[in-house]
Symmetry: D2
Subunit: 293 residues, 4 copies
């Protein structure tokens, strides 16, 4: 399939590479061109403009936040203006429910399709084509782009015809992961101050009731207190909790645990945490307990 | 090994049964005698008094809270007065760190051993001898009773020589499970109010990042809104969070997520939740969001 | 002074009336014209358009939220397009810090002045010209409009040259009031369930350490459980807490108590509280405790 | 009236002095005798034992916590064993609801009266006989000791016949004060990071809606960041919040704001705050925001 890919960060580059490997005809665009050049070696066409990446049946966007997305979608030469009739815009990054609703309306008005397809998985999973894709949108459009999802992920979940459902699920998923981080941070601070070794404790947890990768991955980072380099940065984590809270606000759903996470992220960012992995909020309970500076 | 077992609730009865099956010589005691009689059929000796259950090399206590434990340990004819020199008191239930410290001192003064060995697992796991045992105490004493642990569980983790370390780990583990319940409760309230089916959502979660039994078990209960019969009741959950907070207080460890859980349990108990499974706190986010009464 | 007044709700109408009473030449505008007509009887000129209200030395806006303000300020015939060079736009309602920053820039670019002057006080205080004005902006502009502030309030506090400082102070003030409501709600739930009469309790509090009007007013509403008619509605309270949190987010200031208030408001709104006074969040602690439905 | 006074800290010494000044015949007891000697100069008799202080119609206890109170009340030569039939034990310090219930039973069984009469006010108010007394107990007993209350306070509130009601009200009152501290701490962190001067801000607040002494006193301490010497220490504040939470737990009343305060106190104590005034929790929001170390 002829497909565009806009946004070549750690995740996007890996996903675009897997699309190429699967035999698709991929045109990539990135604001800083060097990341696009790197993919040329893999077989990608490099677009000079957003519009050039919109000439196929579908275009992915994988951009860090709503503003970055809006910058490539709206305006002259943007995705909305450039995509053909019947083509599909696949938004694979974590965006707000409100933006998803807006793009659904706008693409429909332009005779195009909008599919929200945020992915679960860290950069390693993206590289291994082991992402999970949470997709929602018109059934026809979903069907058209399913081969693309197959190329980047290990399984696709279809969550209905309303694109925003997928965005909500993605936000809630990141909220759940951040909750794991917070709970592990508090538990480790408690047992450590009580004399138990953090790593032995984590081994017990992940050998028994909590033998999921998310506990192993984040528990290990917290036990090691090693938050660099970041797989997913604190500002991105903060953004996702903000969007989950905003979605809750629009629906009148109180989310006290998400509120706690919000304050943890702000605390982290107020102390120079911009470059850290988001799991660094898991060290704040230890800080509050006087275990670390 | 000749061993006593005091406290024959759902968990205790299953554990005592597995000790018998493993060939140990088990004398059981329960305040209401009928539960002890039921084990006679499995091959247990039935003690008329606590003291009669204390004649072997070790005695288990599996009682719902500190007060119940103290009632059988202290006073004339209690465990402390009845256990032989060098014998081991194994406390397998979830008790306070403070009580563990007290029993450690008292048994040492009486020439006996105290081993804290709380277990992880719900009644089904207890019945299947699949518990996880978190044990701490003097190495000799631990070694003596290891065959008993092997009879009731699938793996034993030794957490050091201070019995209280095991109690702290157990409390923190229950805190982690309750955190999973709360986080799932909030996430499901959010996506459900946004139009996503609760069961489809849970399927996605547990097929991807959260494929641990704890998410499947509790997520299922929350998605089904089925909190009876209780595998572990709300008052027991509330007690454990209280003890985790008390341990945190003694160590000056703030635990904001545990504080949230505390308030959830009090809310539940203020609305007649005594008989419900502790996962019923996972419905309170939906209640706050106006999704359920 | 020749002055316009846009936004004639309960507060705005009272403020405009006091400007007229003080001898100013007031032109009023309101989207639904009937409220403007009512002021004609007091001596106001009634504008047909926003632009007609912008012909004097200053124009007040007293609108419920950022969107309503933007609707009258931006676009053809808006305040920005209509106000004369050197004239002052006084924003007296509670708006976001971000909007204040935007208007500061835009008015400066148009050769106009922007003064943020949110007011403290409920409708009774507005009617009695007893408001407190928290003003910030360029010293010259503040000086020009001081007679207007004198006409509507009992005292003006000047908070510097950056208009947004006044907005931040206003938001923080509403946060403090909402905190009083929450704390009284929790305290009353506790003592009431312990057998103490709510009104006797409030009498003790407000006769001793808490003899400020804010405790009397809101404590009375909570003790009476009388939240209609609203002096300040729950959606407005929710908005202000949202804006305080947003300001905190922009500055990386965690605000856990504000987060709690946020969730209280969402809970209230999820249960049909749109028409209630914002102090109705003070009944939620009693609801959580099972004292009220 | 012949009256004993046990517990001569800052508050107790001032109260005993005022009883002497009012013409009562006061016998004082303190564990470290030097504080008692200091009162001899004011006209007090100095007791060598607790029992010697229990020879009159009434005896006050003003001790820092339940354990200290129990140490003088229970056992040989304690208040219970020493007080005459019909005499009144007035507990004026902040104790737990559970201890109040216990003493009510025990004194009744001994043919004595128990009156809970905790006081509101800092040491300056105690010295000036300007305390507020929150009293509860049998009407006869209250009537008997009312002249004593008149000597130490400016007003007495009678809260019913159940002594524990007064303890609950006292705990809730300290919770309300701590809530003021927290709310001011968050508000000041927010406006300060937004460029507003803390002292100017406090002046605005306390000149307008928050003109109560509690805002002036604690707001001043927070704005000055001056938490030594302590008028009321952080460990005492932590104790009172703990007792309020325990009372809430016994009654199934969730108290999320009290939970937040609990965690603030533990954070403070984990960082060496034992000697600080309890208002030092009001600096933690600024610390979380990166404004102070």
């Amino acid at each position: 399939m002829k497909v565009g890919f806009i946004g070549l960060g750690q995740m996007g580059s890996a996903m675009a590479t897997n699309l190429i490997k699967a035999g698709h005809d991929v045109t990539v665009y990135n604001r800083s061109r060097d990341k696009a050049e790197a993919l040329a070696a893999e077989g990608a066409m490099v677009a000079e403009t957003v519009a050039e990446a919109c000439g196929g049946e579908a275009v992915f966007t994988m951009l860090a936040h709503d503003d970055a997305l809006s910058a490539v979608v709206h305006g002259d030469g943007g995705v909305l203006a450039s995509l053909g009739k019947g083509a599909v815009h696949i938004s694979a990054s974590t965006i707000s429910v409100a933006m998803s609703e807006r793009l659904t309306r706008e693409h429909a008005a332009a005779g195009q399709h909008f599919v929200a397809a945020p992915v679960f998985g860290r950069p390693e999973a993206a590289a291994a084509a082991k992402l999970f894709v949470a997709a929602a949108g018109a059934p026809d459009a979903i069907q058209t782009v399913t081969p693309l999802f197959d190329a980047i992920g290990q399984r696709t979940f279809v969550l209905g015809e309303e694109p925003k459902a997928a965005n909500l699920v993605k936000l809630s998923g990141n909220f759940l992961i951040a909750s794991v981080i917070e709970s592990l941070g508090e538990a480790m601070a408690l047992v450590e101050k009580g004399g138990v070794d953090r790593h032995a404790y984590l081994d017990l947890l992940t050998s028994t009731l909590f033998n999921a990768p998310v506990y192993k991955t984040y528990g290990g980072l917290i036990a090691d207190r090693k938050f660099k380099p970041a797989g997913f940065t604190a500002p991105l984590g903060q953004k996702d909790i903000r969007l989950a809270l905003a979605a809750g606000e629009a629906l009148n759903v109180p989310l006290p645990l998400a509120s706690l996470l919000r304050d943890r992220f702000l605390n982290l960012l107020a102390h120079g945490g911009e470059e850290l992995d988001w799991s660094a909020i898991g060290a704040l309970a230890a800080k509050d307990a006087g275990l670390v500076e």
